[in-house]
């Protein structure tokens, strides 16, 4: 059982589809979760239909959505690290790694969850995963917490193989849907459900399992 989990992701909503169910499950089993969200997703393109946010108001809107998502999941501790959307790969690495190391030192997590570097499509995702892996890789091998990575780039399984951590979250779909729906500027119900109205069975198949790859440090 995990007691202390540190989640490191760059954008509000990154938690919604890939990890929210697992986090709800860990929390039900007694875990304390800290979610370090690097940016406010201030460069996001979705602002609602019709748009209810602007480039100027989007950061505040997304911060509130993120807080609502955390409440839906049950996350106890949200940290906003204050980096700027789209810039993680260009950020000063010492500053980036330093802020992650600081959290690791403070929390002493038994598990870290982030994106798989190189297999997570968005440059911010890859750069966040890289920073986590770089930071944890510097720790002595016997003190490193396991790092579970999300991956979703095309054909990622050809190189990194099958996920080794598969979590059934069907019991936690209400919380997961709550997290997804909290990000109302980002996800429209129509987009979420596709063109057809999706029966419960389909939602369960589509959202009921979350997959992670344990990062292998050389």
């Amino acid at each position: 059982m995990e007691s202390r989990i540190l989640v490191v992701l760059p954008h509000p909503d990154d938690e919604a589809f890939g990890v929210s169910g697992s986090l709800a499950k860990y929390i039900r089993d007694g875990a304390q979760v800290t979610y370090a969200c690097l940016t406010l997703g201030e460069m996001g393109r979705n602002m609602g239909i019709p748009p209810f946010a602007t480039r100027v108001t989007l950061p505040a809107v997304r911060k509130e959505e993120l807080e609502a998502s955390c409440r839906a999941i049950g996350i106890q501790d949200l940290r906003l690290l204050g980096f700027h959307d789209k810039t993680i790969e260009f950020e000063d690495q010492d500053k980036l790694d330093g802020s992650i190391m600081e959290l690791v030192n403070e929390l002493n997590p038994s598990l870290i969850i982030t994106f798989y570097p190189g297999y997570s499509v968005h440059p911010d995702h890859d750069a966040t995963g890289e920073a986590v892996v770089r930071t944890i890789g510097r720790m002595p091998a016997d003190r490193r917490p396991p790092v579970h990575c999300l991956a979703f780039s095309k054909n990622h399984e050809e190189t990194i193989g099958k996920p080794d951590v598969i979590i059934d979250v069907k019991e936690f779909l209400l919380k997961k849907m709550g997290s997804i729906q909290a990000h109302r500027s980002q996800f429209q119900a129509a987009e979420l459900l596709g063109n057809k109205k999706m029966p419960d069975k389909d939602i369960q198949d589509r959202f009921g399992t979350e997959r992670f790859w344990t990062y292998r440090f050389e």
Binding site: P51, R55, V56, K154
Partner: protein, 114 residues
């Protein structure tokens, strides 16, 4: 955000003439463009809080709209604008959203940094 009212935007453009302004200018296809459709060439660009000053400017088209601002040495140009922030009287906040509501282009001018 409201659909652009050309005359209101023109008033605002005129109000901001001949002064130092912070500009946010952006165009993006979205970070997932080539993930969703590999034939798409992903492109995005933005400049945030650069200081500019224009001597003359206007809005044209029937929607989506174009805005051109003439500076002492050059131009600022943006096409595809559909929405503006009608409640903002100090700043000019404009954006172009596609049929799915996603932001494609943004042009913002303010006397204070964004």
């Amino acid at each position: 955000m409201q659909l652009i009212d050309k005359s209101k935007v023109k008033e605002m453009i005129d109000l901001l003439i001949d002064q130092d302004l912070y500009i946010h200018l952006e165009m993006t296809m979205g970070a997932y463009a080539s993930h969703v459709d590999s034939s798409k060439h992903p492109a995005a660009t933005f400049i945030s809080n650069a200081v500019i000053r224009y001597t003359h400017g206007s809005i044209s088209g029937n929607g989506p709209f174009r805005v051109g601002l003439k500076t002492s040495q050059g131009w600022i140009y943006s096409e595809g604008l559909t929405h503006y922030e009608d409640e903002d009287v100090e700043r000019l906040i404009m954006a172009g959203h596609d049929s799915q509501g996603k932001l494609i282009v943004a042009l913002q001018l303010s006397r204070e940094p964004f």
